[in-house]
C-alpha cells in the first residue's frame, strides 16, 4: 500500500519539475542585464561582443534557447558557464559538499535540540524553564543570521579564540556556522514541537490514558510524541531543500563556498546556465524534501495514505 503511494507521489515529480524548469528559465532570462557585459573587457571590440552573443546562442528566441537547455539537461548535461568559464556540473559538484556538510549538520543540530527544547517547554512545570525556552525561541526566530554570525565571530573567534574566524578547513571551522544557522532552526522546531505537544495533550484519548492511571512519562513517549511528530516532520521535510541553499548570508560572512554563494555570484553576473542549474538543484531538493515528508507522514499515519489513494 505504502509503496504504491510512494510510486504515484514520485511520478508526480516529473510534470512538476518540467513546469518549474520553465518558470526558472523565464525568470532568469527576463531579468534585466546579460552575461556578455560581465565577460568582455576593455580592449575588445563591439564585433567581439556580437560574436559572443551568437556563440552562446543568446540571439535566438527564448523558446529555442529553453529547449536546447532542457534537452541537454535530460541527457545529464548542465551546460557550460558563460562568465565562470567552467562546466556547470563541475561548479555545482565543487560547491555541493560544502553546502551538504554545513546544511546537514545544522539540520541535525536544529532538529535534535529543537525537539528536546520544545518537549521540555511543553511538559515542564517550572515556569522559569518555560520562560527561558520561550525567550530562546523568540530570539532564535527573530535574530538575523548575518548579525548573529558576526557576534559569534567576535565572541568565540576574536575574544576567546576557540575557533577560526572564517574558512572551511577542518571541523573547527564548522562549529560557528552550524551554530549560527542552527539557532534559527532550533527555535522553529522547538516552537512547532511545543505547540503540537500542547495540542495533543488536550485530546480526549490523553485524558482517558491519564484516567487509566498510565504514568505521565509513558503517555509522553508512547502516545503524545508520535501524535505530535506529524507537524514536526512536515516542517523538517520542508527544511531539507533549505539545507542546500539557505545559508547564503552565513556562507558570505564565514567565507565558505557553497551552492548559495555560487548562485548569488552567478546571479549578479547573469551567468544563465549556472543560475538555472543551481535553481533547478534547489527546486529538486525542496521537492524531494516534500516527498520524504509526505511519505514519512503516510508511514506514520494510515489515514493520510488512505485519504490520498
Amino acid at each position: 500500500m505504502l509503496l504504491r503511494y510512494i510510486f504515484f507521489r514520485a511520478l508526480m515529480l516529473i510534470p512538476v519539475s518540467i513546469s518549474i524548469s520553465v518558470v526558472i528559465f523565464m525568470i532568469v532570462h527576463l531579468l534585466p542585464g546579460d552575461p556578455i557585459d560581465n565577460l568582455i573587457r576593455v580592449g575588445s571590440s563591439p564585433d567581439d561582443r556580437a560574436a559572443l552573443i551568437t556563440k552562446y546562442g543568446l540571439d535566438q528566441p527564448l523558446v529555442v534557447q529553453y529547449f536546447k537547455w532542457i534537452g541537454a539537461m535530460f541527457q545529464g548535461d548542465f551546460g557550460e558557464a558563460i562568465v565562470l568559464r567552467r562546466p556547470v556540473a563541475d561548479l555545482i559538484a565543487q560547491n555541493l559538499p560544502y553546502s551538504l556538510t554545513l546544511g546537514g549538520l545544522a539540520f541535525a543540530f536544529s532538529s535534535i535540540v529543537g525537539i528536546i527544547l520544545g518537549t521540555i517547554s511543553a511538559t515542564t512545570r517550572s515556569t522559569l524553564v518555560e520562560q527561558v525556552v520561550r525567550g530562546f525561541i523568540l530570539l532564535g526566530s527573530t535574530v538575523p543570521g548575518f548579525w548573529l554570525a558576526l557576534l559569534m565571530i567576535l565572541f568565540f573567534a576574536v575574544q576567546l579564540q576557540w575557533f577560526p574566524v572564517s574558512g572551511a578547513k577542518g571541523w573547527d571551522s564548522l562549529v560557528l556556522p552550524v551554530l549560527t544557522i542552527g539557532f534559527g532552526g532550533v527555535a522553529l522546531v522547538a516552537r512547532v514541537t511545543r505547540v503540537a505537544l500542547l495540542d495533543a495533550r488536550r485530546e480526549d484519548f490523553v485524558t482517558l490514558l491519564h484516567a487509566k492511571g498510565l504514568p505521565a512519562r509513558a503517555i509522553l513517549t508512547g502516545h503524545l510524541m508520535p501524535h505530535a511528530m506529524l507537524p514536526v516532520v512536515t516542517i523538517l521535510a520542508l527544511r531539507i531543500g533549505w539545507i542546500l541553499g539557505g545559508a547564503v548570508t552565513v556562507e558570505f560572512v564565514f567565507g565558505r563556498p557553497g551552492l548559495g554563494s555560487l548562485l548569488i555570484r552567478a546571479l549578479g553576473q547573469r551567468d544563465y546556465p549556472v543560475v538555472q542549474g543551481c535553481l533547478l538543484m534547489l527546486a529538486l531538493a525542496v521537492m524531494l524534501g516534500t516527498l520524504i515528508g509526505d511519505v514519512a507522514q503516510a508511514a506514520m499515519d494510515p489515514r493520510i495514505r488512505e485519504a490520498k489513494k
Partner: protein, 525 residues
C-alpha cells in the same frame, strides 16, 4: 577540582603545542586574502579565463612587466624591438628559464602559446598578431596584421602569463583547475574554488624582473591565498592573525585598520577613476552649457578631504595621472567653479527659483542620479547630490545592482550616474566614448562624427607608441571639450598587512600587487 587541574594541564599543553606550531609556521609562510574584486576565479588558465586573481601572477611569468609609472620592464623577454612600420615585433628571451614541469622556456614556447588564444574570449589581446616566427632558440618575432602599439600593455597583463605548452595540451580542460604549469616563482599546490589557493616555492627560480630586489627564489616557502567575501570578516582575520596580508582594503576601512597596532597599511597609486557620466541625449543635458555647469558644480578637493580623509587624489580629467595621455591642455581639466556654473545656467535660461531649484519654462531643474549598490559609491553619490544642489540642480538618487544598471543605460533611462572604472590604459576612452557602444559602456550616449574620427585614428592608425599617445591625447582633449562626464576621484589601492608577521616592501612596485612584491616579502623573525 581534579577536573579543573586536568583541564588546565591540557590547555597548557595545547598552548605549548600551539606556540611550537606557530614558530614553525612563522618559518616561511604567509596567507593573503584577495581583494573583493578578484574573488570567484574558477580557473588559473590565463588563456581562457575571464577572471584572474593576483595568485595567477605568481604561477606564470610574463614576457614584459609594467611598473606603477606605466613604464615597461623586461622579464621573460630581455629586450624587444618594434619595426619602424609597426608590422613586426622581435623579442629576445631570457636564457635558462624552465617551466615547473622541467621543460625549457624558449622561442618555441612562445610560438606554441600565442595560437592557443584563437577562438577564446581573450583572443583580442593578440588580435593584431598574424603569426609568431621562431628566429632562433631565444629570439621570437611577432608578425603583425596591423600595427599594435599597445602590444606591450597586453603582454604585461595577467592573461598573458606564459603557460607550459606540454602541460597545457595534455591537461586540456583541467589546466589551471587541478594543476598548472608556468615559469613563475611559485607552483600551484592546491586550488579549492571559492575558498583558497595554496602555492609552494619554485626553488629553481632565478629569473625575476628588475621590479624585485630579490632575483632568486622567493623568501616565502608557501603562500596561501584566501577568498573572504565579507570585508568585516577579512578585517577580523587580519587582526587575529588568521591572514597576514589583506589586499584591496576599501578606503573607508583605513581609519579602523590604522588604529590596530599590528597592522600597517600601504597605499599604491590606484588604476582607476570615479566619475559621473552625463547622458547627452537626455534633456536638460542635451544643452552643453548645462553639462559644463554640472561639471563645475563638483568640488573634487572637498570630496577627497571629506569622504576619503585625504587618501587618493582628485580627478580632473578621464585618465589616471600616471598615463601620459592625462597631460591635456590645463584649460580642459574640470575643476570646481560655482560662479561660472551659475552664470552658464543663467545663460542657458535656467533661473533660480525661490526654493533653491532652478526653473526653465515652468519646469524645475530636477534630474535622476543613478548609482550601483555597494558601499563604495553610497556616500560619494550623496555628496555629489548635495554639491549639485549648490547650483540649483535637484538630483534624485536611485540605486541599482550592477547588471540592472547596465540595462537602464542601454534603454536610455538615465541622466546622471556615479560610477567608477579600473583600467590603466588610454583605450578606456574608446571603451566609454565610442559611438559603437551607446548605452553601455558609452553611458554618455555620445555619438559624434569628429569624436569617432579621432577615436578611429587613435585606435587603428597609431603606428607606434609615441603616435598612439599623441592620438589618444587629442581624442581625450576633444572628449573633455564636449563635457560628457564629470571626473571626481582617483582612489588608491590599499594593502594592509600584519607587521608582526610579515614584511611587505613599500612602495609596492608594478601596477598591482603581484609576484614582484611577493618575491621580496619576508617573515618577521
Amino acid at each position: 577540582m581534579r577536573f579543573a587541574t586536568k583541564t588546565k594541564l591540557l590547555s597548557g599543553t595545547a598552548l605549548i603545542t600551539l606556540g611550537f606550531l606557530s614558530t614553525a609556521a612563522l618559518a616561511q609562510e604567509a596567507s593573503i586574502a584577495f581583494a573583493s574584486g578578484e574573488l570567484g576565479a574558477t580557473s588559473y588558465n590565463p588563456v581562457t579565463s575571464s577572471n584572474l586573481n593576483s595568485a595567477t601572477s605568481l604561477i606564470y611569468d610574463r614576457l614584459v612587466e609594467q611598473d606603477a609609472d606605466q613604464s615597461y620592464h623586461p622579464h621573460l623577454a630581455t629586450s624587444w624591438e618594434e619595426a619602424a612600420d609597426g608590422m613586426s615585433w622581435t623579442f629576445k628571451l631570457k636564457d635558462g628559464v624552465t617551466f615547473h614541469d622541467g621543460t625549457a622556456f624558449n622561442a618555441q614556447s612562445v610560438a606554441d602559446w600565442i595560437p592557443d588564444f584563437a577562438e577564446t574570449e581573450n583572443a583580442y589581446l593578440v588580435g593584431a598578431v598574424a603569426s609568431v616566427e621562431v628566429i632562433d632558440d631565444l629570439t621570437v618575432k611577432f608578425v603583425m596584421s596591423r600595427p599594435e602599439p599597445n602590444l606591450l600593455y597586453n603582454l604585461a597583463s595577467s592573461f598573458m602569463g606564459v603557460p607550459g605548452a606540454a602541460a597545457y595540451d595534455s591537461m586540456g580542460e583541467d589546466f589551471g583547475v587541478t594543476g598548472a604549469v608556468g615559469t613563475g616563482p611559485f607552483k600551484l599546490e592546491s586550488f579549492s574554488i571559492g575558498l583558497e589557493t595554496v602555492l609552494v616555492r619554485n626553488d629553481d627560480y632565478a629569473w625575476a624582473s628588475d621590479l624585485s630586489e630579490n632575483q632568486g627564489a622567493a623568501h616565502l616557502e608557501r603562500v596561501t591565498f584566501r577568498e573572504i567575501p565579507d570585508q568585516s570578516t577579512a578585517f577580523l582575520e587580519l587582526k587575529t592573525g588568521g591572514i597576514d596580508v589583506l589586499l584591496g582594503v576599501p578606503t573607508d576601512f583605513l581609519q579602523i585598520l590604522k588604529a590596530e597596532s599590528n597592522v600597517t597599511v600601504i597605499q599604491m597609486p590606484g588604476t582607476g577613476i570615479n566619475y559621473m557620466p552625463i547622458n547627452v541625449t537626455a534633456a536638460p543635458f542635451d544643452d552643453i552649457k548645462v553639462r559644463e555647469a554640472t561639471g563645475l558644480a563638483i568640488n573634487q578637493e572637498a570630496i577627497v578631504a571629506s569622504i576619503y580623509n585625504g587618501v587618493g587624489a582628485p580627478a580632473h580629467n578621464f585618465l589616471i595621472a600616471s598615463l601620459p595621455e592625462a597631460e591635456v591642455d590645463p584649460s580642459l581639466n574640470v575643476s570646481h567653479d560655482l560662479d561660472r556654473a551659475n552664470a552658464l545656467l543663467e545663460d542657458a535660461g535656467w533661473v533660480m527659483g525661490d526654493d533653491g531649484v532652478r526653473i526653465k519654462d515652468g519646469a524645475p531643474l530636477s534630474v535622476k542620479l543613478f548609482t550601483q549598490n555597494g558601499t563604495e559609491f553610497t556616500s560619494l553619490t550623496q555628496v555629489v547630490q548635495a554639491q549639485l544642489a549648490d547650483i540649483g540642480m535637484q538630483a534624485e538618487i536611485t540605486v541599482f545592482d550592477s547588471s540592472t544598471i547596465r540595462d537602464e543605460y542601454k534603454n536610455n533611462r538615465h541622466q546622471l550616474a556615479v560610477r567608477g572604472y579600473d583600467w590603466n590604459n588610454s583605450d578606456i576612452l574608446d571603451w566609454f566614448f565610442s559611438g559603437e557602444r551607446l548605452g553601455y559602456p558609452n553611458v554618455s550616449m555620445w555619438k559624434d562624427e569628429e569624436g569617432q574620427r579621432l577615436n578611429d585614428v587613435a585606435m587603428k592608425d597609431s603606428k607606434n607608441s609615441a603616435e598612439r599617445i599623441a592620438n589618444f591625447k587629442a581624442y581625450h582633449e576633444y572628449v573633455l571639450s564636449q563635457h560628457l562626464f564629470v571626473p571626481i576621484y582617483q582612489p588608491t589601492t590599499n594593502i594592509a598587512y600584519n607587521s608582526e608577521r610579515v614584511n611587505v616592501p613599500d612602495p609596492v612596485r608594478g601596477t598591482r600587487f603581484r609576484s614582484q612584491t611577493v618575491l621580496d616579502m619576508t617573515v618577521v623573525e
